[in-house]
Amino acid sequence: MRGYLPSLLAVAAAAIGPLGCVDIVHTDQVQALGGEAPGVGPGPTHRPGQPCLVCHGGQGPASFQMSLGGTVYDTQGQSAPAEGVQVQIEDITGASVTATTNSAGNFFVPLDQWQPKFPLLMQVSRGGVTQQMLTYSSREGSCAGCHSNPSGPRSPGPIYVNASQKP
């Protein structure tokens, strides 16, 4: 038995070693997002409404990293995306950046462009209409991390430009 012990230990180490590098929580988060929508491959318009930084936050699987990302919808309670919205983000030092939503309503700030110092305050504007975030983000770079759909006790709901008639 003694002769086999080093070999057994080596095999056990080889089997366990890679597991030490896997963040199971992160893996579960990525898998929970599901696959790509039909006809929309990876790119700036994919996966609207999902928490961008799960994949783009440095742990992969996406190589492109963001400091912030989210989706803006046209009208509260509706699913049409809002294109051309100015998303203004300010960090606690007063530094700010403005991103513009694309045809999917998505916007993002590349990590190599800005690394904000949390907390952050944000507002979205288009055509003279502005919605300001009434609280602030303390650490979450994915808007959908808090603004999930539907609204409920743990979510204020998706971000929108135009308020519905009956909130």
Partner: protein
Amino acid sequence: MKRSVWLALVSVHALVAAVAACSAVPADARIGILAPDDSEQGFGPVADYLDHRCGSLDCHGQTSRNFRVWGCEGMRLSPTDVPQCSRNLGGTATTPDEHQATYRSLVALEPAVMSAVVAGHGAHPELLTFVRKARGIESHKGGSLITPGDFQDRCITSWLAGQTDLDEAGVSSCRSAISFPTFPGLDASTE
């Protein structure tokens, strides 16, 4: 020692331990601690400040955290409420039940230490981990949020000391603490 004697000793020991485990502590036994004021008047303003500063949905406004904060700026207690304080926007103000939920979470973090701090009339609030984290003395993902002596710190420490702290104008330090943090640009644009 003979094996039979050894086995007998072990058996007696196990029997005594088993009996003690079943009968030593009555099922309704409670441990008493000294706890700070939980009244709506005494803790309500503290809870509102904690909701504002600590209770955002991406921080302590989550059930996955040990220190959980409930309120209209973050996690709601009622399944029909949303994280929105303004009635005009479909929200509701933080309820007394939410204040109580925050109170229970906070006091239960370190009950024995909390008891010691209260017994000492709040002279050493830094014994509490949540105070050390907020002051940045201990590692805190949210960073250093308060400075000893500022309105935020006075809001918490005066509550622990069983007092109501007022500023020069007679305004509660907890109410003044709500103004933190301050954003130079967007905050100013809405004033």
